[in-house]
Symmetry: C2
Subunit: 505 residues, 2 copies
Amino acid sequence: MESIHQYEVFEVTMPKQQRSGYPGGVFSCGDHSVCIKGFAENANEGTLRFMPDRQGDWHYAVAWEGESVEGDFHCIAPKRGVHGPVRTQGHHFYYDDGARFIPMGTTCYAWVHQPPEMIEETLETLKSSPFNKVRMCVFPKSMPYNHNDPAFYPFEKKEDGVWDVTRPDQRYWQHLDFCICALAEMGLEADIILFHPYDRWGLSTMKQEDNLTYLHYAIRRLGAYHNVWWALSNEYEFSFGKTIADWDQFGEMLAAEDPYHHLVSAHDWITPYPKRPWMTHVSLQCADPGEVFSVRDEYGLPTIDDEFGYEGDLEFSWGNLSGFEFMNRAWAMVAFGCYISHGETFHRDDEVLWWAKGGKLYGQTPARLQFLAEVLRSLPGPIEPACAQAVRDPNGNASSEGQKQLIKMIWEMESDKGRRQIQKEMTRPIGQHPDFRLIYLERQVRSFISLKLPEQGQYKVEIIDIWGMTRKQAVSGVHGDITVGLPGHEGLAVLITRLSGEALC
Amino acid sequence: MESIHQYEVFEVTMPKQQRSGYPGGVFSCGDHSVCIKGFAENANEGTLRFMPDRQGDWHYAVAWEGESVEGDFHCIAPKRGVHGPVRTQGHHFYYDDGARFIPMGTTCYAWVHQPPEMIEETLETLKSSPFNKVRMCVFPKSMPYNHNDPAFYPFEKKEDGVWDVTRPDQRYWQHLDFCICALAEMGLEADIILFHPYDRWGLSTMKQEDNLTYLHYAIRRLGAYHNVWWALSNEYEFSFGKTIADWDQFGEMLAAEDPYHHLVSAHDWITPYPKRPWMTHVSLQCADPGEVFSVRDEYGLPTIDDEFGYEGDLEFSWGNLSGFEFMNRAWAMVAFGCYISHGETFHRDDEVLWWAKGGKLYGQTPARLQFLAEVLRSLPGPIEPACAQAVRDPNGNASSEGQKQLIKMIWEMESDKGRRQIQKEMTRPIGQHPDFRLIYLERQVRSFISLKLPEQGQYKVEIIDIWGMTRKQAVSGVHGDITVGLPGHEGLAVLITRLSGEALC
């Protein structure tokens, strides 16, 4: 009996002959069974892909217009480093096997649409990068710095030049399979953007019926890859021809048709996509960490700010953040219990910018994101924002009677500016957990910090320099009210760890 | 006949004997005459101070309870460097003699309340600083880092320990005269804060009647100094015992009683003081240059952001800006056609922080404010914000039909965030004048900028590095659409100068 690893793809192929539609099957392991739909790969055969989510003996029966095949295989432990699809719990991400997944994504929208040498280079770069997720489009991208045409398109064309979504171009899809698998090999998630507006080929303006045909195909073809995430959109509001009802149809089709329940999000341009049952997490575009925190708080879902500006030097304000400002936002988001994605947009005359095409990285943030990832992995659990309560009740976060009165007073002034200021004061990027507290000081230049630790117990205080990438112990074994010296520059985080005694939240 | 310089103080003294109140007089030069009220300086004499605003022969007659003195003096050209009181015109400041005054203030709230050696040190520091205005309090200050008591207080006390505002302590006021004159000697304006809330001596909680008695005295005593500005308040909302009606009484008294019509402002904590006829300019506290621009636009007055955070390393968010962030805000304000004040708050165990006590400067911003002042002085005229029109009509600033449509679309989304974003895009710190255009790029990292110059004529483009303090010509003699390389870091300004051809606005 054939053996495959858990979370790998088991394929069943049937000759196509004159059959229409696609094969369907049932895969069972003990009393657990999953219905799977396949796809007509080419003129000669239909394929059905299945990803077993548990170890043991599996039996399958696949049928296509009256004809059927049956078989068995044995599912063994996953390959080293494979943990299955990413799931969510509370505001955080975990692999199917329970291991924590701390998203540290990057954006290469059109990397799969570039020439083979560049794709090789992109994969090579990713291999030694801190990234574990790539935001990437199925359709090619048309935009400044995106003027080259891809070798293959997702569909064949009808005689009148209109895309024929019933005839996927196998060369394209096999290439996409290759790209997704290459990411999986390296332990990266493929955050697949299904629709986006930056288009000169008519792929963003297909009829909704055609959109659904394509989406259904993508689900059946790509769903069995454990590292797939479904991103309905990039900047959904920019797709002028699509209504919220259209987007909802996509989300509902994914919820109904994806047997693996991969993650689903809808990325916005300005207004976060309304919360929906099919939405597993929030994928935002927002420059302000405080606002990202608010959305996290309102939606009650894991929240990734996939676009808060890119490290680069373009004319566009979304593409000219300094490395420091990028990291400053990243640390603030993380201390708010949110997650982030990287992107890089340094102008090049050859138009090869990482954010769109991949290639090489030139910026200063990847090394610093690596450092951030190391700090996060060293923590005993995920971060919850300490300000969540404070924002709902501004007085709740006041550290003294005097401060409480001050807050009350400003509140009663009914000044928008005053209320914004209080909200800002109360919404600081401070992350907490029973065993630690992470205070990110943003651009505040501080020569010291006063801390109110529990009166009993022992606590350790470390100073993190987010740009210098150092993490140094300041004091250990302390408790109560203490003052800790700080090196007096921007980009400092203070990490308090409980060694013994009362929990930190 | 005695000669005095224009804008200097001419004093008339009369013996006090048993007289109550104060002397009053009329000063005439040709058909121009001014009524002046004096003050009882001490138990023995009354004094009347007069500042002539024009050259020529002056005659005066001073009377006090039936007794009078008359006399003449000749008013000659002002001392070198003296231009008279500062006035306003449009959104800008000019001395009485028409020379431009470009405010570059600093904040030393309680410098006059420090020991003599420290006052000497402060004056020494100011002498070699870029500053031409000092924000300073009449009353001593109580606050963190302000725990020492002054040698003298403005008033004697009654037997019950309450301040007797009818008995000014001459030792204090002579000292204040000295301080104001010392500033005048060095060409600095004294921005005198008449009331402030940071108090442990009961000076902020006097009865309104006493406040007015004190204010009237201050006007009669200090008004003849050409370098006096009246700042009613520091953070007016924080003076809980004072109502807007009380503050208005101060403003109205200044308008009615100050024969020289020195500048009058009321500095806020959160909400700009409502616009009033007696208000000559706006003195703000605001961290956001875009908001400061809005107030300037709404009030139609010269606007100084006297507090947008200080360069320092304190625990307080108002006192821990990096030098770069301070300069970044300063340049943005200036490109918006506004003005700024400096302040420095580096923690010192001896509690001598420039912002409160003076002493020495340790920061990196004074040299850079000097550079900013040099750039401003080199310009042929004051800056008007290019965005003023755009904000009233977002479409007005669109650079293309496509951008117009985009703006319209976002506007119609009725998303607060979207509208804020548009407002931000439309409210960029770009200053203009027929002969120049100053584009401040804030924290944008740019490797180039595309400029749309007039199709005819000759223009020069310079690149200014606000932190590196360099100003380099990029191209000259150009026109039409051009692209200029930029060094790709934060804090760049682009200055376009018209050499010939169409005006730049």
